[in-house]
């Protein structure tokens, strides 16, 4: 791997205007080194900071000038000390000159490696570029940059610039910024350059690829449009998930005194035959793979399979072009491939460019059948979409997404939204509230897209590497809370939420949610566990906790509108027995209030519903006494007032006394209960 060793010099602006983001720069750069320590241990790295009061670099001693630039670390193979160095960058006092810093960095690379390692030498500049660079003695600034860029190209160096702007550099002089941007862009004319502009601390953390992956082609050969028309292409992966590192298992069996212990764990698989009581281990050569055929298992040896397997020829063939709308976005199956014309092949590049641009104009996509390598035992069918390059240095290319086969699709049916009851359909106001949310909670206002995947770091991996670094120093360090800068990836941006307070208020006003009271106990338990689970684990940050502590639909009081539902919801809040007591008490009062305030019996129906719910509640709690007392009270009330309709209503729905058969503690027989309202002898209505 030696030939792939990267030689990198970090050029970090630590001037006063950068202080606000330096902690992110520290995190970003230390993460870079942490990953190198694991994945590219032999890479070499130097660190230059500029904007410091003092000056410490070869050029300033050798030729003078190059003030306020400090070589924090000469180029060396990455080690743990580098992480420490990068975690506490000095805060500078003067505005730095990024061009001088670039020259210092180049000088370091040239002195150390001469003209060797072309293409492996890289400079990485992090600055806000809001301060003018010094005028040169001869020629314009542009000429100066041009000369440097040519030299860079001759030495086989690359440069990557991360320019911190937007919110992060508010009061800067636009003229100076434009000049600097122009100067930086000159580099891209002469040499391999990547310039990135970031405007949030979160995207700064994602701006630099912290893991260097050597590009490997998946396929080199022809893209066949027809047997007569083939274009030479190379295929790479465009996306590939950086996985959570696979950690090795650690054995603690070896005694501590054994200094040579590897502590490794071997995972062994044993295949045992179970015949009656005896078990025996079957050696690998006696094992054979079996495949299910109905209830049976059919043994098939690897040799048999190999002889009859599907073995397509290597190649990529166009099956046809079709309208882009025919391919639904959600059908993409895997990570994505990139098709580029064979590098250096002008004709192929032109052909790819022509096809890609024609496809774009026609809104067409191509369906491809791909066999990447000889011996591959399946084919891949997918969709090729054009990627029209916005950068005149970069050729046009294609992206390729794998599509599902007929066997991969499960055709489940789901109810049409129109088939739902009217109460589930949003009304106009609700729809308006949702419209507002969808439009106002905007993550891409006029060209400033937030959470752009290209600049969004993986919060889990960031957290892992940070914990790893902590543990290296302090083995029992707890898992750190999620960094504030990473919060914006997993939670809504508080600023955006605050700006749209009225939108959220409307949402709350128009939509009502409540827990389903009819849920079986087991499901309900699950729901609560989930609730408490989230409380326990999302422990970082006050803001989160205040949200999590409120279950979405906690009902604390029985209202006038939906007393029955409120009651049921309260009864189901099992976290505290007091809820039940409170619910019963409140509903009882509500019923009596309904009776008293009823005008010509208009509220009886509602009262009856409440009684029904209350009765169910008392039976559930096995407390017949208070309920039966209430019934006696109601009967008496009705007798006194000469109300006939309410007892009739209650009787018609069997809402009488709770009998012994329903609750053990009751001393009312079923017969008594049945005749409870019948026996009433009301005075004649007045």
């Amino acid at each position: 791997m030696a030939r792939n060793k990267e030689k990198l010099v970090l050029l970090l602006d630590v001037g006063p205007s950068m202080h606000g983001v330096l902690s992110e720069v520290e995190k970003l750069c230390s993460m870079l080194v942490e990953k190198k320590l694991i994945f590219s241990k032999y890479d070499e790295l130097g660190v230059v900071v500029f904007g410091t009061e003092e000056s410490k670099n070869d050029l300033t001693t050798e030729v003078g000038g190059y003030q306020n630039i400090t070589v924090l670390q000469d180029i060396k193979v990455v080690d743990g000390d580098l992480v420490d160095t990068l975690q506490k960058l000095p805060r500078g006092r003067v505005d730095g000159d990024f061009l001088d810093a670039i020259v210092v960095g180049m000088d370091m690379l040239i002195k150390k490696y001469k003209d060797l390692h072309k293409g492996k030498k890289r400079l990485c500049l992090i600055t806000n570029a809001i301060h003018p660079i010094k005028d040169s003695f001869e020629g314009s600034k542009e000429d100066q940059v041009m000369t440097i860029a040519e030299q860079m190209a001759a030495q086989g160096m690359k440069i990557e610039s991360i320019v911190v702007r937007g919110r992060l550099s508010r009061d800067a002089n636009k003229g100076v910024m434009d000049e600097n941007d122009h100067l930086l862009s000159i580099f891209s004319k002469k040499t391999h350059t990547r310039i990135v502009y970031v405007d949030t601390p979160t995207s700064l953390l994602g701006a630099l690829k912290t893991r260097r992956v050597t590009p490997v082609t998946v396929f080199r050969g022809h893209l066949e449009l027809s047997p007569h028309m083939k274009i030479k292409v190379w295929v790479y992966k465009k996306t590939q998930e950086e996985k959570f590192p696979t950690l090795k298992k650690y054995s603690e069996k070896a005694p501590a005194s054994n200094k040579l212990a590897t502590h490794q764990v071997k995972v062994s698989y044993e295949y045992k035959s179970v015949d009656g009581s005896s078990t025996s281990v079957i050696p690998p050569e006696q094992r054979i793979k079996g495949y299910r055929y109905g209830p049976q298992v059919v043994p098939i040896s690897t040799a048999e399979w190999d002889a009859v397997k599907f073995k397509p020829e290597k190649g990529i063939k166009v099956l046809g072009f079709t309208d882009a709308s025919k391919i639904k976005r959600h059908c993409y199956m895997k990570d994505v491939y990139l098709f580029i014309a064979e590098p250096g092949n002008t004709r192929a590049t032109l052909a790819v460019s022509a096809i890609a641009r024609a496809m774009k104009e026609m809104n067409a996509v191509a369906i491809l059948r791909c066999v990447w390598r000889q011996g591959q035992q399946n084919v891949v069918v997918g969709v090729l979409t054009p990627n029209i390059s916005q950068n005149y240095k970069i050729p046009d290319s294609f992206y390729f997404n794998v599509l599902p086969f007929a066997e991969d699709v499960r055709e489940y049916q789901f109810p049409s939204f129109n088939s739902f009851p009217a109460s589930w359909q949003p009304n106009d106001q609700q729809q308006k509230a949702a419209d507002e949310l969808v439009q106002m909670l905007d993550l891409a206002p006029s060209g400033k897209e937030a959470l752009l995947p290209e600049f969004t770091p993986n919060p889990v991996l960031e957290r892992f590497y940070r914990h790893l670094e902590l543990k290296a120093k302090q083995p029992d360090a707890a898992v750190p809370p999620l960094d504030e800068t990473l919060k914006n990836i997993v939670e809504p941006d508080p600023e955006l939420v605050a700006e749209n307070k009225s939108v959220f208020d409307a949402l709350h006003r128009h939509f009502e949610l409540r827990q389903n009271p009819k849920l079986k106990k087991s499901s309900r338990q699950w729901y609560q566990e989930k609730q408490s689970g989230s409380n326990a684990h999302v422990s970082s940050g006050q803001a989160v906790n205040s949200i999590e502590n409120q279950p979405p639909v906690k009902i604390e009081k029985i209202g006038d509108l939906t007393p029955v539902q409120d009651f049921e919801a309260m009864m189901s809040q099992r976290d505290n027995p007091e809820w039940v007591e409170k619910a019963i008490k409140e509903l009882r009062e509500k019923i009596l209030a309904l009776l008293i305030h009823s005008d010509e019996g208009d509220k009886y129906q509602k009262a009856v519903e409440c009684v029904a719910a209350l009765r169910k509640g008392y039976i559930l709690e096995q407390e017949p006494g208070p309920y039966n007392d209430l019934m006696h009270h109601i009967r008496q009330y009705c007798e006194e007032k000469g109300i006939k309709s309410l007892p009739q209503l209650l009787a018609s729905r069997d809402l009488t006394l709770i009998s012994k058969s329903e609750a053990e503690d009751s001393d009312v027989t079923a017969e008594e209960a049945r005749s409870f309202f019948v026996k009433m002898e009301p005075k004649p209505d007045v």
């Binding site: 027809s226 070896a254 109905g294 590049t349 022509a354």
Partner: protein, 609 residues
């Protein structure tokens, strides 16, 4: 055993803790094939597949055989019974005349299909006359009614299992449209009435009866004579019946070997829209790569399944490790150790929740933002009443404003930033093509995206760009190979179809591997049509000038010595392999690539100039 039927439903997102929430909505199917075996079924012929005449009996039997072979792969938990009527011999639990239930050893009458059932049923025609025999069961002067008996036997077979958990069907194959035609008035009336009543009783028990009528070329099966009443057809259905019935017969033979999955919720998640506003969603895996069924290791001597035991062994001491071990990462010259709980804690961010972060226009969802198959989400009011209402409102807004939602999904094993794309319901001819809901697309992070297109331009020159003429020539070529009706998942996976075919050949000890069609092979013929070739030549000339041929030749020479060797070895291996050992005798049929399915799609527009 190690044969877990649930394996079939394993999904990369599944985690075992979640079993509790999984529910299966669809059910098993119990089918009784009821085949008329009267002499008329043997005497009547119609042109078969290879233009030779075949008897109606043969048509029925081969259709069932084909269906069984598909079913054993696609829905092997469904149960079937095969029952002939109008037979000389009788074999059924009720001991009714003229009805013979066909079965093989180690199998109940209504049971899952087995290789043996398929194998023996494949050669039923050889032994049928000898062992079962054909004989009219309804004759004047006799009170026997074989059709009535057959329905009774079928109904009794289907007594197993609850109608709630299983679909019960009787598929009736016959070419006799007037079963009681030979009888006198009174007897005919009586038998018609009792038979219809018997059918109705079965239907009342939730059993559906489907008729697969067989017609002669000269006289079509008249369904209104008798069977319309039996299966309950009238009006428009009656008119539609015959055309659709013959299609059904074709479909049964021509089904895809495809494993069916029952619909079930992968998990329930909470969609956190705003503080205090969290709705409940169910997630479903609608698209997942299908792999050949799970492997079971067998002892090659006994063919008994083996039990796999995994053990952890300390490399220093050789001791067995019981408790879940610590994990470590070498870092800074030492081993940094983690407890499994710490790793889980690192990954735990908004557990079980989907948190809304905001919305973006659909144009921001680039083609290369993809990592894994998407997951479908659909609202549920089961736990949180009101969920569906909010979901529908958001769904409509997102469609209307062409925006997708960005959210953070705190799945325990794999938390991820996701895009939620609203999908409107699409129906075609009454069938749901796309269900309404949202698709959750997993977004990449910065480190997951590569910029390899930017590697190469180390030159000072700008990258070559096609000019207008070249683009127009390309467009003309594209128009020539344009497919109008493409569906993203119209192709069967040729490797998988081959796998199933080989499995079937070995399980049934068939001589030939059934032919499988590689539907993904390009339509070479269509692509060499003059119009296409002309467009290709014009494009070539415009881009390559005269130098195209040199270029393409270079590529062919490049195949390295090593890869040529590898290829030769592979080819020889296939040649040398003695397939005969596998299939006892006979030759492996050379597989022919056939692009039948694709040809019909590739309808190039005719030259207009």
């Amino acid at each position: 055993m190690g044969l877990d039927p649930e394996d079939v439903f394993k999904d990369e997102e599944d985690d075992p803790d979640n079993e509790f929430f999984q529910q299966s909505e669809s059910s098993k199917e119990y089918v009784v094939y009821l085949v008329d075996a009267s002499p008329k079924m043997f005497n009547t012929t119609c042109p078969g597949n290879d233009q030779k005449d075949e008897t109606h009996f043969h048509t029925s039997v081969s259709c069932i055989a084909g269906s069984l072979k598909t079913q054993i792969i696609s829905r092997s938990y469904d149960e079937v019974a095969i029952c002939f009527f109008n037979t000389r011999e009788k074999k059924n639990l009720q001991d009714l005349n003229g009805v013979f239930v066909f079965n093989v050893a180690e199998r109940e009458h209504l049971d899952r299909p087995t290789a043996r059932l398929i194998k023996e049923f494949d050669c039923i025609e050889e032994s049928f006359m000898r062992e079962i025999g054909s004989q009219y069961g309804i004759v004047p002067g006799s009170r026997e009614n074989s059709l009535y008996n057959a329905l009774w036997v079928a109904q009794a077979l289907l007594r197993k299992g609850s109608i709630k958990t299983a679909d019960k069907r009787i598929l009736l194959f016959t070419n006799e449209d007037d079963p009681f035609g030979s009888l006198q008035d009174a007897a005919k009336k009586d038998m018609t009435r009792t038979t219809l009543q018997r059918a109705k009783d079965a239907q009342d028990l939730g059993i559906s009866i489907e008729l697969l009528p067989l017609s002669r070329p000269d006289s079509e099966f008249n369904v209104s004579t008798f069977y319309a009443d039996l299966i309950g057809l009238d009006g428009e259905d009656l008119a539609q019946f015959m055309p659709s019935a013959s299609q059904k017969l074709e479909d049964m033979k021509d089904q895809l070997r495809k494993r069916m999955f029952t619909k079930r919720v992968v998990r329930r998640i909470e969609f956190h829209i705003a503080n205090g506003l969290s709705i409940a969603l169910n997630t479903y895996a609608l698209i997942r790569p299908t792999v050949p069924g799970a492997i079971t290791w067998l002892d090659s001597v006994t063919n008994h399944p083996l039990k796999t035991e995994r053990s952890l062994i300390c490399e220093d001491t050789g001791a067995l490790i019981q408790e879940p071990p610590k994990l470590f990462q070498p870092y800074r010259n030492e081993n940094v150790k983690f407890l499994p709980e710490e790793i889980a804690e690192i990954k735990r961010i908004s557990p079980g929740k989907l948190r809304l972060l905001g919305f973006k226009p659909l144009s921001c969802l680039k083609d290369y933002y993809n990592l894994r198959p998407s997951t479908f989400v659909y609202p549920s009011d089961q736990e949180v009443v009101g969920s569906t209402c909010i979901f529908i409102a958001l769904h409509r807004s997102m469609l209307k404003h062409k925006r997708f939602a960005v959210a953070y999904y705190g799945a325990s094993s794999h938390p991820q930033l996701v895009a939620l794309v609203a999908q409107d319901e699409i129906t075609s001819a009454g069938a749901q093509m796309e269900p309404p809901g949202m698709h959750m697309i997993y977004l990449p992070y910065s480190d997951d995206i590569r910029d390899d297109e930017e590697i190469f331009p180390d030159t000072e020159e700008d990258a070559p760009r096609a000019d207008e003429d070249q683009i127009q020539k390309a467009a003309a070529l594209i128009k020539r190979i344009y497919v109008k009706d493409f569906s993203a998942f119209q192709f069967a996976n040729p490797a998988l179809q081959r796998h199933y075919a080989v499995l079937q050949a070995l399980a049934l000890a068939e001589d030939d591997i059934p032919e499988t069609i590689d539907e993904t092979a390009p339509d070479e013929e269509g692509l060499t049509r003059p119009a296409v070739v002309k467009a290709a030549e014009a494009f070539k000339l415009s881009v390559y000038g005269d130098s195209y041929d040199e270029e393409s030749d270079m590529g062919k020479e490049k195949m390295s010595e090593a890869s040529r060797k590898r290829k030769a070895i592979a080819e020889n291996a296939a040649k040398d392999y003695d397939w005969g050992n596998l299939a006892d005798k006979g030759q492996v049929r050379v597989e022919e690539f056939n692009s039948r399915r694709f040809e019909s799609l590739l309808k190039c527009p005719q030259p207009s100039c």
